[in-house]
């Protein structure tokens, strides 16, 4: 065992597994790693492989990872249960500039599991009401099956300084809206925010692209917008090249980018 090897995975115990939806489960893992909101870690299973997963929650001695079973490694992770071991290394990259958001009106727009990388920051704002002036959350999901963090969505809805819009792309659901998240951008009361706000957007690439354009159309300057990217990764430490876009390494410089940069990145 060597401690100067940044690729060395550390064994960690799974504390519990929560099924958010059929294909998205949250694994709570014992770890003392010091993680910024929005950072990610490399999860691995020996003999199977490694995957980058954003930290979707954190507390005393534990971290949450909300994982979608879509590949070889994640499928094997889904066979694990409390008491089993997951291997971790990280955290990596740059998370949300929380200090910059402090005291402002914060707008969070998410598509699908894009909610995972902002969940811990939203909880921070919920648990410590003085963190931001208020929080506007627009969360869209493809359909009812795709909804994650249902308990928290319900809880956030009740917060005085939260204003929430939850939507399904096409389907109807009681208390929910129907439509793509971009359609709700025009309802955000930017004119009441003055200059004092920031917008966070996370979701599939197409959703982020059109949400960015829609925000600009509604007069939001690009300096006020932040996005989190997901790209193929192998090393997470700037060596393997898989995540590179132009002169930018998503694993090092991201996953969170100001839109002033994100807007001009061409894969």
């Amino acid at each position: 065992m060597s401690n100067n090897n940044p690729l060395q995975p550390i064994p960690c115990e799974i504390l519990n597994v929560k099924k958010e939806s059929t294909h998205e489960w949250t694994f709570r893992v014992a770890s003392d790693a010091d993680v910024d909101h929005g950072q990610f870690m490399q999860l691995s299973i020996p003999k199977v492989g490694e995957v980058p997963i954003s930290v979707s929650g954190q507390g005393d001695g534990w971290l949450d990872f909300t994982i979608r079973s879509v590949g070889k490694v994640t499928n094997v992770i889904f066979e694990k249960e409390a008491g089993d071991t997951l291997f971790l290394r990280g955290p990596y990259g740059h998370g949300w500039p929380v200090d910059e958001f402090k005291g402002k009106h914060l707008v969070v727009i998410t598509g699908g599991t894009g909610l995972a990388p902002v969940r811990s920051m939203v909880n921070l704002c919920a648990d410590n009401p003085k963190t931001v002036k208020d929080l506007t959350l627009i969360s869209g999901f493809k359909n009812e099956d795709g909804i994650v963090f249902q308990n928290e969505l319900d809880k956030w809805k009740e917060h005085d300084h939260f204003s929430t819009t939850y939507a399904l792309d096409n389907d109807e659901k009681e208390g929910w809206s129907t439509g793509l998240v971009t359609t709700f951008v025009k309802d955000i009361p930017f004119d009441t925010f003055g200059d004092d706000y920031a917008v966070v957007v996370v979701g599939p690439p197409i959703m982020m692209k059109f949400t960015g354009l829609e925000l600009l159309k509604n007069g939001v300057p690009e300096e006020k917008i932040w996005m989190s990217f997901e790209r193929k990764m192998s090393c997470a430490i700037g060596k393997c090249g898989h995540c590179r876009i132009d002169e930018t390494y998503v694993c090092l410089d991201g996953p969170v980018f100001p839109y002033t940069k994100a807007r001009y990145l061409v894969d």
Binding site: M1, P46, E50, C235, I237, K239, G241, D246, E247, V266
Partner: protein, 350 residues
């Protein structure tokens, strides 16, 4: 200090060096080439001077000695990752000027990028000393002078082989003893000052020019020509990309290893995440990504040099006869065209 050695003395020198170093140099592997009766030349461990190919460029680059095509990172049992062992004896690497300059690129990525030092690169690189070999001017695919890689700085010895033996210069004192009793002579290495082939690297500092270039029709041509085989990046002196792969040893599913394997941005799937569509899905997209990395992006990030040393190996290895120098010159023309059009009216070329 300079020396002139006859063939016997050259053999004696290598024997002396071999006591303390593993010596690597370009070596011929008969009948393993691209066509049935051609040889392949690649860097490998050598014992005697006649194994060294000094009059012909190797098909594969010297980087393979330091960052091999594949290597074990960890061995694992059910609940433990054990780091793979490192070799103990230092390496003396006899390489061409371009190959030595290429290590500056490898160093930027493996040892510096993001403040992470890659252990597997570092532990070998630390043990390597370079002997620069006179290349006699290279061949018709070389454009090292255009890329400023013709005069490396980081070498301990300079060698010039010919039929009569070896001329040598010792610039690192730790090698002086090995030349004890060898005939002294005036010798200073000479480097290529001009290649037949010249490449114009366009100025891509303007973002609008870059964005227009990325959607320029010139890349579409590669959809038909390039077969996305990745031979060019495997042969490349500077390419560093890899993938990590876990494997089990056949008879015992409980043990296996995590392995690093060379990867290519030219091969389908390089950017593809599990359960998602590929981002660069055409050969043209991938070529544009590679060329811009080599001739803009790397330098934009690290500041000092482009990610190409002009060794021409990619041109030499491409089964479709795609020439890197012709591609860069074509890009320079496209950029001129884009700049002209931006200047008169600002409409991007589509």
């Amino acid at each position: 200090m300079g020396y002139s050695l006859n063939p016997d003395q050259t053999a004696e020198l290598l024997n002396r060096l071999a006591e303390d170093y593993r010596i690597y140099a370009p070596k011929r592997f008969p009948k393993q080439g691209r066509y049935s009766d051609t040889d392949i030349i690649r860097y490998d461990r050598i014992q005697t001077p006649d194994e060294i190919v000094w009059d012909q460029k190797s098909d594969y680059p010297a980087k393979e000695v330091i960052s091999p095509i594949q290597q074990a990172l960890f061995y694992f049992t059910e609940d433990e990752y054990r780091e793979s062992k490192k070799a103990k004896k230092p390496v003396l690497l006899l390489a061409r000027p371009c190959d030595i300059t290429a290590q500056l690129v490898q160093e930027k990525i493996y040892a510096e990028n993001g403040g992470f030092k890659d252990l597997y690169y570092d532990r070998v690189h630390n043990k390597v000393k370079f002997a620069v070999m006179d290349c006699g001017g290279g061949d018709d695919t070389c454009f090292c002078v255009s890329m400023g890689s013709n005069k490396p700085e980081n070498y301990s010895l300079a060698f010039k082989f010919d039929e009569n033996g070896l001329k040598a210069e010792v610039s690192d004192d730790c090698f002086a003893d090995y030349f004890d009793g060898m005939p002294e002579d005036d010798f200073t290495p000479e480097f290529v000052e001009e290649n037949e082939l010249k490449v114009t690297i366009p100025d891509l500092s303007d973002r609008d020019v870059r964005l227009a270039l990325k959607s320029h029709p010139m890349w579409k041509e590669f959809d038909k020509r390039c077969i996305s085989c990745g031979s060019c990046t495997v042969a490349c002196s500077t390419c560093t990309c890899f993938t990590t792969r876990d494997i089990c040893y056949g008879d015992n599913p409980e043990v296996g290893e995590r392995r690093r394997v060379t990867a290519s941005c030219q091969v389908a799937g390089f950017d593809q995440m599990a359960g998602q569509r590929e981002i660069r899905s055409t050969a043209g997209d991938r070529m544009r990504y590679k060329i811009l990395h080599k001739f803009h992006d790397h330098k934009a990030r690290f500041g000092d040099r482009h990610m190409c040393v002009g060794c021409g190996r990619c041109t030499h290895m491409c089964p479709e006869f795609i020439s890197i120098s012709a591609t860069v010159n074509k890009m320079a023309d496209a950029v001129d065209e884009i700049k002209a059009s931006l200047a008169d009216g600002g409409n991007h070329v589509e």
